[in-house]
């Protein structure tokens, strides 16, 4: 690959930000044109990512579409990007949901230009974080994402937007500063061993650090990612951010940004520091299961639908964490699958909440009731998404949840049994919410004038609902493409375990060998 020609993946990265730049040249009163421009660029980015999906070789475990260029040679910082079966679908989730979120932002009337600019910048930031293979580059993208999200909440948010935006940024920054220190430390150690200063992730994978170093580095990374996930008890920024964020902000936040936390564990914290991760696993499994139950129990009593969905995310992401920390193929595949499923179902939930908020300017459950009679299409779609979130077999949520449970039950049956109580709790809070919103008599006269979803809104939700069904009925295209990369990640976790086998359990090693 020549140094000048821009690669497929880089093109995907620059497309949104290029679009954002292009918007700056459109007069701000031409809002339709601004929206159109943003739609075109994000849609092209989506189509481009589909092209990558088609070209992607699902049999390979290695990174594909890899591009490499020197960036800051003096410090060994490079521009390295690539995609494997793990990041592929997260990239697709991002490119899929961004245009839909933009389309859902029709009700934004103020500072449209800046809003759309930030949305597109955010997309590039997220995509960059998913494809970056240089630790420093990853860190840059990780931080870049904060800026547009900060403004999206802080400028276009609800009444307490400044508080929420600040909380979001301070929380995230607290974690990421330690991660930066750890990243630099890793590069320095890399230079010590190989005499080459480099932040190249694939190189650093092979740097088998002793346990006493791993544990500190792991904790630095893990704190940063755990805040993002969010892992109980670091979750309190999430409900505030969701409640105040505009609809598209909530969608992106829940569907994609949170996944960067779990993705971070999967790509960085676990394979880079496998021995430390194994030692910390019981702790994280405990927190994950507490999160599953706690999130669900707290969600039940929320009066605001957005807060309810926010806590349900704590619960669902607890499942993902459980899957990741049991170090076997079902746990990991289930975890990744659950990330995608949660992205779709929670994204759709926030979209639906946004649509009803646009009409009624309230999100309180008590302000609704009996909506099915008035707005059946809305209610029916809410029903599908509700059951997707509950994990009804045949819809997407079940596949990930079940695989996580299978993977986790091998390793920690007691904790897994506790987590499985989520199947009851999830039904309790979601159905209770659904009943109070859609069923019963139409008690509020304001709701008698509600319009049902218009074609634009149906167009936004239909692709998500179709995917919810497809991923439930036919998960193989997804699972198969993840498999090699998941196996490789497991090897990385297991490989160092053999060299530094002071810690770790025999059961996992046996399973890894079995899976390979």
């Amino acid at each position: 690959m020549s140094a000048i020609a821009i690669g497929d993946l880089s093109l995907l990265l620059v497309l949104p930000v290029l679009g954002g730049a292009a918007l700056l040249f459109i007069p701000r009163r031409r809002t339709a044109m601004l929206f159109g421009g943003a739609m075109v660029f994000s849609a092209v980015a989506f189509l481009w990512s589909i092209k990558l999906l088609i070209q992607f070789d699902g049999r390979l475990a290695e990174m594909q579409f890899v591009e490499r260029a020197a960036w800051v040679p003096a410090y060994g910082i490079e521009y390295i990007v690539g995609v494997d079966g793990i990041s592929l679908f997260l990239v697709l989730l991002t490119t899929f949901l961004t245009p839909l979120s933009i389309l859902a932002s029709w009700s934004v009337k103020e500072k449209v230009k800046e809003y759309l600019f930030f949305m597109l910048l955010l997309e590039t930031g997220m995509l960059g974080a998913f494809v970056a293979l240089d630790l420093f580059l990853f860190y840059v993208f990780w931080e870049v994402m904060l800026v547009p999200m900060y403004f999206l909440i802080g400028v276009w948010g609800g009444p307490r937007r400044i508080y929420a935006a600040l909380k979001f940024v301070v929380f995230t920054m607290t974690g990421s500063l330690l991660m930066l220190v750890a990243i630099i430390y890793l590069a320095v150690r890399q230079a010590e061993t190989s005499q080459v200063l480099s932040f190249d992730l694939l190189r650093i994978y092979d740097l088998h650090l002793p346990f006493h170093e791993q544990i500190w580095l792991f904790l630095a990374f893990a704190l940063s990612f755990a805040i993002k996930v969010p892992v109980f008890p670091l979750h309190t920024w999430l409900p505030d951010a969701h409640v105040e964020a505009p609809t598209a902000g909530s969608v992106i936040l829940a569907a994609i940004l949170l996944k960067l936390g779990t993705y971070g564990f999967l790509r960085f914290a676990l394979p880079l520091f496998p021995d430390a991760a194994r030692v910390a696993a019981p702790f994280f499994i405990g927190l994950a299961v507490i999160g599953v139950i706690y999130g669900a129990v707290v969600a039940m009593m929320q009066a605001d639908i957005k807060r309810l969905v926010a806590y349900s995310s704590v619960s669902h992401l607890g499942f993902v964490m459980l899957g990741l920390f049991v170090f076997n193929v079902q746990g990991l595949q289930g975890g990744i699958y659950q990330m995608l499923s949660h992205g779709l179902s929670t994204g759709a939930l926030f979209l639906l909440v946004g649509m009803i908020y646009d009409r009624r300017h309230t999100r309180l459950i008590q302000d609704f009731g009996g909506l099915w009679r008035q707005i059946p299409i809305f209610s029916a779609l809410l029903l599908v998404v509700t059951f997707s979130s509950i994990g009804l077999p045949g819809l997407n949520g079940f596949v990930g949840e079940f695989l996580i449970l299978v993977g986790a039950f091998k390793v920690v049956p007691g904790w897994t049994a506790l987590a499985a109580s989520g199947v009851v709790l999830g039904a309790v809070y979601m159905l209770w919410m659904f009943r109070r919103v859609a069923f019963g008599p139409l008690t509020h006269p304001e709701n008698e004038k509600l319009r049902d979803l218009d074609p634009r809104e149906i167009l936004i939700l239909a692709p998500i609902v179709v995917l919810i069904v497809v991923m439930g009925v036919y998960p193989r295209p997804f699972l198969d493409r993840m498999k090699p990369a998941v196996d490789l990640t497991l090897t990385r976790m297991g490989a160092t375990q053999v060299t530094a086998s002071a810690v770790g359990s025999g059961a996992n090693r046996e399973l890894n060998a079995d899976e390979r």
Binding site: K167, V170, F171, P233, H235, T236, W237, Y294, V297, V298, A299, M300, M301, Q302, N328, V329, Q330, Q333, G334, G370, W372, R373, F387, L392, P393, G394, F398, V399, F402, L403, L405, V406, F409, K410, P413, T416, A417, A420, S421, V423, V424, A427, V428, L431, W432, R435, A438, F439, G440, P441, L442, V473, Y474, P475, R476, L479, D480, K483, D514, E515
Partner: protein, 644 residues
């Protein structure tokens, strides 16, 4: 040997569930366009085609044979695999006939029953979807696919109980049904997980029934007991057994055809089907089997007592269903799987007939369900009356009817099987008497005596149209003759045992007691049934006493205890629901905002406080900075010297 004809049938299997699904999807998108009537006809036609296909497949099924149709691999992760694969064997064949056959009749009936309902398209969408999931449940060739159907029927049940959602009570009943079922499913899922992991240790990573059957005995007895207990927990939810039966009476909030199809004939029997499907597993778990037998017997008895006191026409039938399901589990518990399935089969006919008959009554009375406002309907609704009488005789176990044979078989097995006992038989026997009593109590209150309906209702009482009464007649026919398929050997050599033998094998033939004992027990059952009917007649059937009894149905304290179902709902509310909502409320309103978020904001506040102090250090005075600089340099120097 697979002849080409049979291969053809195997490839057909997928269409049996898929056709109702397609009809459901079509009606979602085009139902409004082609109108309520056509949507209903499409829904009926779809189930009719499924029924015809089922009969075709069953007719081709060789005695020892299984048809299998593997569509695709559903989930594959590591070594774990779950196929989307359907099968028909003798057991599934019985269920196919019940689900599509009785389902078809109930679909037809619904055309009449729901004709004035604005939501009839939605109704048929749900109903077809239900048939799809129910067929998946009985045709799935592995436990995970069975679970898909299991949850899917739960979804449809939820939607149909809350079908008239504008009344919050209906929606609440729907939620209750789903959540109580989910509590059972929590056990079911854990059971599946233990099974997956334990078999995985042996290198087996599938859940299809053939593999399970051939490898289950490799597991330790403790694990088998654990798995069977967990799976049975799921069955107590779905099939409304103690302690999770509480949702089924409330489920009567749904339209009556739904009660007939889902909450009597098919879905609630899924737990019985599941245990029968996994008979090889349960057979290895004697403790679980005893527990099942006792829970079944206790539920049968307990629900029958409650049914004695109910005033709502459908609630009597609901508790009756719980009670009859108890009989089926009693059979399962004594290892008589074939008898359990036989009762499932006959029960589907007479209970569907009773529910649809009650629907006909409700329909005629403009929605009235309170039996105190009925009476004397014999003359107004002759067809409903006669079919109801036949079905009531069948469930009571009058000689020659379907219920007579199937209940008698269960009682006989409860007595004679090595797992049975005289106590179990006795509970079943008493319950048989109560069954006759509550059924004929209802029968006399509803159809005999004076009509107690209000005048404006009375003026409009009419017999239901043919679209409703013809299904009633067919079901009444089945309520008599379905039982002859499994009549005991002293009547004729009935095909039932032979048909199911390839599935269940020969169950303890050797332990059968003598025919004379069998006949003696049968006569005792007949006697107590007759007593039940006579008591009902004495108390409610004579015109003189009926009016006054009906007026004062709510009597003394024991009566109120029964009427209020032993206050089990209230007990659960106190023990489970309120503590849970209390904890949830405390966590959501106090712990999370004050303690966890409070800690966060506390950290933030202290940082702010600290930074206020540090700001004071940035005095702008160079001398201060210099002192700090020197101090820092000294500290570093000291550190490095210390390292040496």
């Amino acid at each position: 040997m697979v002849t080409p004809m049979q291969t053809f049938a195997a490839d057909l299997l997928r269409w049996i569930p898929l056709i109702p699904l397609l009809a459901s999807i079509l009606n979602i998108f085009f139902g409004d366009r082609w109108g309520r009537k056509n949507a209903g006809l499409l829904a009926c036609a779809a189930v009719g085609v499924s029924f015809a296909l089922s009969l075709y497949v069953v007719a081709l099924l060789p005695a020892e044979g299984v048809f299998r149709d593997t569509v695709y691999t559903w989930i594959e992760s590591g070594s774990f695999q779950a196929q989307f694969s359907l099968q028909v064997d003798a057991l599934t064949a019985v269920m196919l006939v019940v689900v599509t056959g009785i389902g078809f009749l109930i679909h037809i009936y619904s055309l009449g029953y729901m004709t004035h309902d604005q939501g009839i398209i939605r109704f048929f969408v749900y109903l077809n979807l239900f048939v799809f999931f129910m067929l998946l449940l009985v045709m799935g060739d592995n436990l995970l696919l069975l679970f898909v159907g299991w949850e899917g029927v739960g979804l449809c049940s939820y939607l149909l109980i809350g079908f008239w959602y504008h009344d919050s009570q209906n929606a609440i009943a729907g939620n209750k049904a789903f959540i109580v079922n989910r509590i059972g499913d929590f056990g079911f899922v854990l059971g599946i997980l233990v099974l997956v992991i334990e078999l995985g240790r042996l290198g087996i990573w599938t859940l299809d029934f053939v593999t399970l059957q051939s490898h289950i005995h490799h597991l330790s007895p403790e694990k088998i007991t654990l798995i069977s207990l967990l799976l049975f927990a799921g069955a107590t939810g779905k099939s409304a057994q103690i302690p999770l039966f509480v949702w089924l009476p409330d489920a009567m909030a749904g339209p009556t055809p739904v009660s007939a199809l889902i909450h009597a004939a098919t879905m609630v029997t899924a737990g019985v089907y599941m245990t029968a499907r996994l008979h090889f597993l349960f057979a290895l778990a004697p403790f679980t089997l005893s527990l099942i037998a006792w829970i079944g017997a206790a539920t049968a008895f307990f629900a029958a007592t409650v049914a004695l006191a109910q005033t709502d026409i459908k609630r009597v039938l609901a508790y009756s269903t719980v009670s009859q399901l108890g009989y089926m589990f009693l059979a399962v518990g004594v290892g008589a799987f074939s008898a359990a399935i036989f009762h499932l089969f006959t029960h589907a006919f007479f209970k569907a007939c009773l529910f649809l008959g009650s629907g006909s009554v409700i329909h005629a009375l403009g929605g009235e369900q309170d039996m105190r406002k009925m009476g004397g309907l014999k003359t107004y609704l002759p067809k409903t009356y006669w079919t109801y009488l036949i079905a009531a005789l069948a469930i009571a176990g009058a000689p020659g009817t379907a219920g007579f044979f199937s209940k008698d078989l269960i009682l006989w097995q409860a007595f004679s099987s090595p797992r049975g006992s005289e106590v179990l038989w006795f509970i079943g026997w008493i319950t048989a008497g109560m069954t006759a009593l509550y059924m004929f109590r209802q029968f006399f209150i509803v159809f005999h005596g004076q009509c107690r309906a209000e005048a404006h209702v009375k003026a409009h009482i009419h017999e239901s149209p043919g679209v409703m009464t013809v299904p009633l007649m067919i079901l009444a026919f089945g309520s008599i003759f379905a039982g002859w398929l499994g009549a005991p050997d002293y009547f004729w050599h009935a095909p039932w045992e032979d048909w199911l033998r390839p599935v269940f094998g020969s169950v303890h033939e050797a332990d059968h007691g003598s025919v004379t004992t069998e006949i003696r027990l049968m006569l005792r059952t007949l006697a107590i049934t007759a007593v039940g009917i006579l008591v009902a007649y004495w108390a409610y059937g004579r015109a003189a006493t009926l009016a006054q009894r009906a007026a004062s149905l709510a009597g003394g304290a024991p009566y109120r205890l029964l009427l209020n179902k032993y206050y089990v709902d209230e007990l659960y509310d106190r023990l489970v629901v309120r503590p849970f909502t209390g904890v949830s409320g405390w966590l959501a309103q106090i712990f999370d905002p004050a303690v966890i978020d409070g800690a966060v904001n506390g950290v933030a506040a202290s940082v702010r406080g600290l930074s206020g102090k540090w700001r004071a250090m940035q005095s702008g005075d160079v001398q201060h900075y210099l002192i700090a600089f020197v101090a820092g340099a000294l500290a570093l120097l000291a550190y490095y010297l210390g390292q040496r």
